[in-house]
């Protein structure tokens, strides 16, 4: 049976506490955020605490995954896209897969909707989720997770119909980054919302990392904006700018220059190691990382205002 979370208990903690409490060697860890709101700071803290033998589940395995690979945290990767966005390659990931350098990486390759369906099945305690993908692909030949089921209903033409299915994924812990939450863990996200809610529900434990911790009244003034309710959240971590080099809609923009730089950094294992030493091991926490980048840097990612118009939820007279 799934855990039941005490929604009023003290959930607000530091990233250090959250990683220490909820990430153990050998765990399956999901980090979600589709281009937007990538939980980078969570990945960095996992690196600082030296976790080993993790299975990382992430649809778009990008820079933060390459960094966790380089830090030796990860032995298995479950993903549907392994690349540095459209900006280039992930050097460490390619060394691991192409040359088993410095060690092999077990890789479960899916497509985006396959991953979405795995999270949906995980969140809903379904034994499988069907999808109209994979027919004729070579992927099932290298991924035994993709199987076929025969529909018990005849197709429109009366014939028997088969469809591929994927199995549920149930991470030990899911980390997501979000714009804001209250102290209970009611989490509000806008802009690209991706698969975060399902990734939280699929997990045994869930940590929400936020730009802002807000008063209950802020959340309750717009309940439709709450994509992850308190009962599904085990810890809330306040960590402004924790999605960098990704972005937070309405807070700061994407650091496209860093994405472009990563291909060269990660291509050279020595340079990559130096980068980790300086920016992850060399910073005590994300606040130190943010400070090290400097205010001038952050002003370059600053954005202007484009406010939504309020809607009326109504009040009984």
């Amino acid at each position: 049976m799934r855990r039941s979370v005490d929604r009023t208990a003290g959930k607000v903690m530091s990233m250090r506490e959250a990683v220490a409490s909820f990430v153990h060697d050998g765990d399956t860890v999901s980090l979600e955020g589709f281009t937007h709101l990538i939980p980078t700071a969570a990945g960095h803290e996992i690196i600082r605490q030296g976790r080993r033998d993790l299975t990382v589940v992430r649809m778009t395995a990008d820079i933060v995954v390459d960094q966790m690979l380089a830090a030796g945290c990860v032995t298995r990767l479950v993903s549907s896209f392994v690349g540095n966005s459209s900006a280039g390659s992930l050097g460490e990931l390619r060394r691991r897969i192409e040359h088993a350098d410095p060690e092999p990486l077990a890789f479960e390759e899916y497509s985006h909707y396959g991953m979405v369906c795995r999270y949906l099945a995980g969140a809903q305690r379904l034994p499988f989720h069907p999808l109209r993908s994979y027919a004729g692909s070579d992927l099932p030949s290298v991924n035994p997770g993709m199987r076929k089921v025969t529909s018990p209903y005849p197709a429109a033409d009366g014939t028997t119909e088969q469809i591929y299915v994927v199995p549920p994924v149930n991470p030990d812990v899911t980390f997501i980054h979000a714009q804001r939450a209250d102290r209970r863990g009611n989490t509000q996200i806008w802009g690209v919302t991706g698969i975060q809610a399902e990734a939280v529900y699929a997990a045994e434990k869930a940590v929400v990392v936020v730009e802002e911790l807000v008063a209950d009244e802020v959340v309750r003034a717009d309940p439709n904006r709450t994509l992850v309710p308190a009962h599904a959240v085990d810890a809330v971590v306040l960590c402004p700018r924790g999605a960098h080099p990704s972005f937070a809609q309405g807070y700061y923009d994407r650091d496209n220059a860093f994405y472009r730089a990563w291909s060269a950094i990660s291509k050279d294992p020595v340079r990559l190691r130096e980068w980790l030493e300086e920016w992850v091991y060399g910073t005590t926490d994300h606040a130190a990382y943010v400070a090290k980048l400097g205010e001038e840097f952050w002003s370059g990612l600053a954005i202007g205002e484009a406010l939504s118009e309020p809607v009326n939820y109504g009040r009984r007279l």
């Binding site: 049976m1 039941s4 969140a123 305690r125």
Partner: protein, 261 residues
Amino acid sequence: MSEECTQTTGAVTSSELLSVVAARELAGRRTVFAGIGLPTLAAELAHLTVAPEIEAVYESGVCGAHPSRLPETIADAVLITGAEAVLTMPALFGSVLQGGHIDVGFLGAAQIDRWGNLNTSVIGEWERPSVRLPGSGGAVEVMANAREVFVVMRRHTPRSFAGTLDFCTTPGPDRALADGIRPLGTGVTRVITELGILARDGVGDELRLVAVHPGVTVGQVRAATGWELKVADTVTTVEPPTDAELRLLRDDVDPHRVYLR
């Protein structure tokens, strides 16, 4: 029903009695899937007494409601304004309920049998019933997925506590197992009626009488039950609603008498 209450707070109605008893049973529970009516009263009273951390989740998708008035429907506008979250229906039924996040689901029924299976579809034959009832709503899902289910039945009669259901809309885990499917929840663990409380622990277990209201005998409950009712070794007497419970219920939970009649 209880003399010492009458003086200060007026006669205890059946709704009040059932709400108070149900609220006490929610002690220590965190998430409750509440229907409208007595379950709402019970959840709100529990919140003020034995389960301050309880969260009422509604079939409409509302989580963490803070209504300004007692809601009249599961989607009442007063449940929405000021709520912590309003989820889509796939999220509510899929992730929250089927995902296993509900500790206690409240259900009612026209008929219940000794295993806690429920009928809310028809009296008579399904094809041409003598009474067509509303059907499942989300009851099938609540039974299949909540950790445990509380049933509140105002009337305790051999017709409603049936030896054989006219139709099983909402099966408990024993019937699920017989159908070859491993159930996820415990099924009905408490049945609260005007006569007393029946309890059941898990798969393979029948409902048994564990408590009676003051003045009710075990024989009366047996006679009102449509099967040979099992009785616990020790049948306790339900403590009548206290003044404090009644005051909270009447003054804070339902001051406008939406449900307390």
